[in-house]
Amino acid sequence: MEYVIVGNSAAAVGSIESIRRIDQNSNLTVVSNEPEHVYSRPLIAHYLAGDVEEDRMPYRPEDFYNKHRVKLMLERTVTEVDSLAEQVCLEDGSKLKYDRLLLTTGSRVNVPPIAGCDDYEGVGIFQTYEDVRQILERLKKGNRAVVIGAGLIGLRAAYGLQEAGAEVTLIELLPRIASRVLDQKGSEMVKKSLEEGGINVITSCAVQEITGNKTAGVTGVTLKNGEKIACNIVIIATGVAPNTTLAENTLIEINMGIVVNPYFQTSFSNIFAAGDVAETHDIPRQSSMVNANWPNAYEQGRYAGLCMAGDMKRYPGSVGMNSVSFFNMPVISMGLFDPESEGLKGTETKERISEKNNLYQKLVFKDNRLKGAILIGDISYAGAINDLIREQNLVGIIKDSFLEEKYQLYDYLRKKREADLEGTAIEWPESHSSGRRYEKSFNEKSWTERELDKRAWR
């Protein structure tokens, strides 16, 4: 069997590991257009900030490909997928036969039509190792930077540049920052923390033009309101889209990303797609969606690898989740956290907020199920909340006092474990969500026995 994997990041590594768990003998080829050994894309901001050294960048040890007997083709670009002849064409005209093909091409950056964004040296995107090397090179000449777009990539880039010693200005078109990963209050808190950290944030403002000259490269940015900001680095981080270029002229179905079934097969049963490029089932929304982040990409790659090797294991679906940390303020958002902006009816929101302690927690419920959460400041229970979103259990009881009385989560985890033991789903009765404190114990009988017979109240 010939396995061919296009792309070399989280999903590719996950699939290599799970293919080799089942199939030790087949040929496995990885084609990547980057020259590096596999490294972690989210880590480039930490590399820019100086948190990690170059030797800590590889995602897997040096002997990873040898150990898994992978034929590695770096700096090679796949130009075409010929699904009828079952082969991929490389840029030099050579062809590669496959029996199973996995597309893990990830995302591409959407560069908006801003005047001058292709013309000058120093204007770049923030996606690969190479981009960061160029930024570090450029930082030696001057330390004023502008980041256009305050999504997660923009925030990470701004944070990295700030830690690397640059004066950073963050420009966002929308009225608030990080609108895809946070709600109104959350983005205000993050904005405040960024400003305290020394980053200049400008919102509700578009960029008119990027100015510069041939010798010095970029010299400044002109905003729509006429303001001019001098800088020598511009990073464009206005958003990403699934990199579906390879599938575009084929019969592979594309919606937002490449549409896959729960076994990661595309329209062709021997072509698989996973990672940021694949459109999978989204658990809280109960619809198909592209959930582009690192944990999902690796997990999807792992499942896709199993399916490619013949162990058809159904993928339960993904939850969009993000975890970032700015200036010691941890921020986690999961699932469907902002129902107002998505125009969703019938949701219920529980909040706990303390501006003083930089604490904000929000849970979104719909139909008595937990759909999403935002946790800022205190994230110690994020795992249990993530599990609740993933399993979509009924949460009648714990809804009211979830955020104040954390022991409810342990009730949940304990109950879940008992249910796992019996192999049944957990059903939380609706009647318990009436606002009164939950009084009934899970195993009241045994507890009463213990109390009466053996133990005194502590």
């Binding site: 972690s40 989210p42 995602y59 975890s323 795992g383 249990a384 022991y407 796992d420 109240w457």
Partner: protein
């Protein structure tokens, strides 16, 4: 694929919530006497009077390993122990996905820490330290999930 491995189990009927295990863990790994820095956590529900033990299960398909963007969480193929090394940058992805709450944040080092079953020692220090014998380190038939909260009841 499941590796049969020795695990730390809790017999919940014996746990009195003293947190001596967490303190011993923090002493052994961090060198401080602070139960909050232990890699085993004990949570108490004062209303219903029971303890919940945050133990790492060393899962077969660890979600923390999936989530780690640095690649510093590894599962040893022979022993089955899931470990985290000091390349961690503190992105808290693993904290976000662990359904058992056993990935801990060490805010001093800005790193995630987790149970490594005290690989260098014969028995983990938490098991050694447990005064009531609630924690046991043994080989059970079904190593994962099921027997974690079931054990012989006290008479």
């Amino acid at each position: 694929m499941a590796v049969k491995q020795k695990q730390i189990y809790c017999r919940p009927a014996l746990c009195i919530g003293c947190r001596i295990c967490a303190n011993a863990c923090a002493m052994a790994h961090e060198g401080v006497a602070n139960p909050r820095q232990g890699r085993i956590g004990i949570r108490q529900n004062l209303y219903e009077r029971y303890e919940y033990q945050e133990l790492c299960r060393h899962c077969d398909e660890p979600p923390c390993l999936d989530a780690c963007m640095v690649g510093c969480i590894e599962k040893d193929e022979e022993t089955g122990i899931v470990t985290n090394d000091d390349r961690c940058v503190g992105c808290w992805m693993c904290v976000m996905v662990c359904p058992y709450g056993s990935m801990k944040r060490n805010l001093v080092k800005q790193m995630a820490v987790k149970c490594d079953q005290c690989q260098d020692l014969d028995r983990p220090v938490c098991v050694e330290a447990c005064p009531t014998g609630a924690l046991v380190y043994e080989d059970r038939e079904d190593a994962h999930e099921k027997p974690f909260f079931s054990g012989p009841s006290v008479t």
